[in-house]
């Protein structure tokens, strides 16, 4: 019964994949339509954030490690997936509401909407990863073929973000406070995830709790693949936990989305 909802969702999305792609491209273009630099801003803003963190950690806090890759690269590898996740999630939460002009007035596959910000995030994310690889190469870590495994972690992160987007995007149509609550939660989430701090120094009890955060799996995965030459299953059996949590959110989200969808046009 629950799985049926997910299958329906997937079928609709697959059927409308071209539409999804053009919506994502147009959203990026539309968001920066009136600006001079255009879509460049989509990449510049995250780069500024990364630059600030690099400056603060490398010069302000002067954090260094004896062995292993430089600390600021560790921050990079954490912050690049984090930016993608938070962009995708806040976008996904607002997706249905923000596309009211498509929901209310025309027959439209609404299931596609929460994925639009995810796809436009992917475009930006790909550029940021290339930039990250460039910085790593400059610092003596040239790209290796194992880096391909990054696709697994970015894919996993996007599925998780999408599942949350269906859930929160549907609720947000009815209770618009949701988007603001998500904003607050993202701020907390940023600090409880080892994005800019290393998880290795945690005491055991704290480590075993913080591991349950699905984003822990993602961020540590990016680092493991890019910096420590680890295969993507190195966190086993955390993989099981992550996918169980994702599947749960996906089932819940698609059920709720499917149930609330007929009422969207009435409320918007």
């Amino acid at each position: 019964m629950l799985g049926f909802g997910v299958l329906n969702l997937l079928r609709t999305i697959l059927r409308n994949r071209k539409l999804l792609w053009s919506l994502a491209v147009y959203e990026l273009r539309g968001r920066y339509a009136a600006t001079l630099a255009g879509s460049v801003w989509a990449v510049v803003n995250p780069l500024v954030l990364i630059g600030v963190f690099w400056f603060v950690t490398a010069y302000g806090l002067k954090v260094t490690f004896e062995d292993g890759p430089p600390y600021f690269l560790m921050v990079f590898c954490g912050i690049v997936p984090w930016i993608a996740f938070s962009e995708a999630l806040s976008g996904g939460t607002n997706a249905v509401l923000g596309h009211a002009y498509l929901v209310k007035k025309i027959a439209f596959p609404i299931e596609v909407l929460p994925l639009v910000p995810i796809v436009s995030t992917v475009i930006v994310h790909a550029v940021l990863i290339l930039f990250l690889l460039f910085i790593m190469a400059v610092n003596g870590l040239p790209p290796e073929w194992q880096f391909v495994q990054i696709l697994y972690f970015s894919g996993a992160m996007l599925v998780f973000a999408a599942a949350l987007s269906f859930l929160l995007g549907a609720i947000n149509v009815f209770q618009r406070d949701t988007a603001h609550v998500v904003g607050a939660i993202l701020t907390i989430w940023f600090w409880v995830t080892p994005v800019i701090w290393p998880a290795d120094n945690l005491p055991d009890w704290a480590y075993s709790i913080i591991r349950l955060n699905p984003l822990f799996y993602i961020v540590q995965g990016y680092r493991g693949v890019l910096l420590y030459d680890q295969p993507f299953w190195f966190q086993w059996p955390l993989d099981l936990w992550f996918w169980a949590a994702t599947l749960f959110v996906l089932l819940l989200g698609s059920m709720l989305f499917g149930r609330l969808k007929p009422h969207f046009a009435d409320v918007l």
Partner: protein, 477 residues
């Protein structure tokens, strides 16, 4: 395979499947007195309702035959737009269902589904992608769409810089070029200049010829007469009647005129239709070849109790305001040596119709109370557009051969004008006057009544002059 097994054998008589079947559709909106109530209801585990139900549509059942154009008429709030949105799949019906196949394009609102920040071209691509066209199909049509919209360089400007006219041009061009099986149009054509309307009507016609189905919602009754094969009247969320456009337009006009569908008005309209049908039959009978059964006499005085009452009442009470076509915003001038105290209109066997067909004969009955005796009073009628332009005006003095008998002080006289209303479609204000002479105006009632003319053929200008056209073959004269 399986559906071939369960499909019944083809019937001997081919009954076309309806393009759209509206099956017992009802729509309820939940009205909450506050936002908190909506939340309370959503969170209440026992499903305790906090809303008041509002039924926007009640049990609408309607088959739209393939290849036909159907007009949906109704006042504001009658549920037209809700019905269209449900057919278009934008709103979910509370009860009932919509059955349809094939691609559907809907023009529900000006620029619906358009992103204001994107250019017209980008929006067209977007829209066509939503309609399920492939990139190649879109590219193939883009040029045609641009040409049809005909807004020049604006096609590549953000849509938010568009005028409403440009908006509808692009939206209409995009919708019609996705080649839908069913096209839904909600009053989009009333925007845009005459040239674009003309182009749109032509596109409509070719669309119809291609066997496509159009569902058309409008307030413009004339366009329903011109475009639609049949029409549907919605009133207060209910389907009141469907049928031949003229009949539905008449019913709708009664609603507009009287604010509601009075049983009386309905009965009158129905009677008028029967009478008209009887007259047609009589004519056919008369055209029978000799030797056939003699034609029965056409029905003479139709049952019009209002007319009989009007003619019998010679009291001096003013009843003008009781006429349903009366316009309270009239303006009156004159010395009031005589007064127009009542009037009555008859057309097509109907008394005081809110709307009549363009070219129909209108009888205008005027009741005048004379305060002073006069040898030859002068009575006049006229018609003005809402902008005040006189379309036609005349009086008994100018109409040679018309004799108006002398009147005595205190007498009440009734006059009848018969005028062929060959004027442009639209609203016409009635002007009534009585005078001693051209320079001695007694009572001029400007815009005393309002009547709507409905044209089933299009023409430009103010008057429908008798006009024919033919091609002259070579060597002919």
């Amino acid at each position: 395979m399986t559906d071939r097994l369960i499909r019944p054998a083809a019937p001997a008589i081919h009954i076309p499947e309806p393009a759209v079947r509206v099956d017992n559709v009802s729509k309820m909106y939940r009205l909450f007195s506050s936002r908190g109530d909506r939340l309370k209801e959503a969170l209440n585990l026992f499903g305790k309702p906090y809303h008041r139900p509002f039924w926007a549509l009640h049990d609408i059942t309607l088959d739209v035959p393939r290849g036909q154009t159907v007009g949906i008429l109704g006042m504001n709030g009658s549920g037209k737009s809700t019905l269209l949105q449900i057919i278009a799949g934008v709103l979910a019906p509370t009860k009932g269902r919509i059955v349809m196949e094939g691609r559907l394009a809907a023009l529900l609102e000006l620029g619906a589904g358009f992103n204001a920040d994107l250019s017209g071209r980008e929006n067209v691509v977007m829209n066509s992608t939503i309609m399920g066209l492939s990139r190649r199909e879109i590219d193939a049509r883009l040029e045609e769409i641009e040409a049809f919209a005909d807004i020049g360089d604006f096609f590549d400007q953000p849509v938010k810089t568009y005028s409403s006219g440009m908006f509808v041009r692009v939206a209409f061009a995009a919708a019609i070029h996705v080649d839908p099986e069913v096209l839904i149009v909600d009053e989009a054509l009333s925007v845009g200049d005459a040239r674009f309307q003309e182009k749109s009507y032509r596109k409509f016609a070719s669309f119809k010829e291609a066997g496509r189905t159009i569902i058309y919602v409008t307030h413009d009754r004339s366009s329903v007469l011109q475009l639609c094969d049949f029409a549907v009247l919605l009133h207060k969320g209910r389907l009141v009647e469907m049928g031949e456009p003229r009949h539905i337009v008449n019913l709708y006009s009664e609603i507009l005129g009287f604010g509601d569908l009075r049983e009386k008005a309905r009965a009158v309209v129905a009677a008028a239709d029967t009478a008209a049908a009887a007259a047609v039959t009589a004519e056919e009978e008369a055209n029978r070849p000799a030797g056939a059964a003699p034609a029965p006499a056409a029905p003479k005085g139709r049952a019009m109790p209002e007319l009989a009452t009007f003619l019998a009442d010679r009291s001096d009470r003013s009843r003008t305001a009781e006429n349903p076509t009366y316009n309270a915003d009239e303006y009156i001038y004159g010395s009031e040596q005589a007064q127009i105290i009542d009037y009555l209109l008859v057309a097509d066997g109907r008394v005081n119709p809110a709307a009549i067909a363009c070219g129909a004969e209108l009888e205008i009955y005027l009741k005048v109370l004379f305060h002073a005796a006069h040898e030859a009073p002068l009575v006049g009628i006229g018609f003005r557009t809402p902008k005040g332009v006189i379309g036609f005006s005349n009086n008994t003095n100018w109409m040679t051969g018309t004799e108006i008998p002398p009147v005595t002080a205190g007498s009440v006289a009734i006059y009848r004008f018969k005028v062929k209303m060959a004027l442009q479609a639209g609203a016409w204000f009635l002007l009534l006057s009585v005078a001693g002479s051209q320079d001695d105006l007694w009572h001029v009632r400007n815009n005393v009544g309002l009547i709507e003319l409905l044209a089933d053929q299009r023409f430009d200008g103010m008057a429908l002059l008798p006009c024919t056209a033919e091609a002259i073959p070579e060597g002919g004269s």
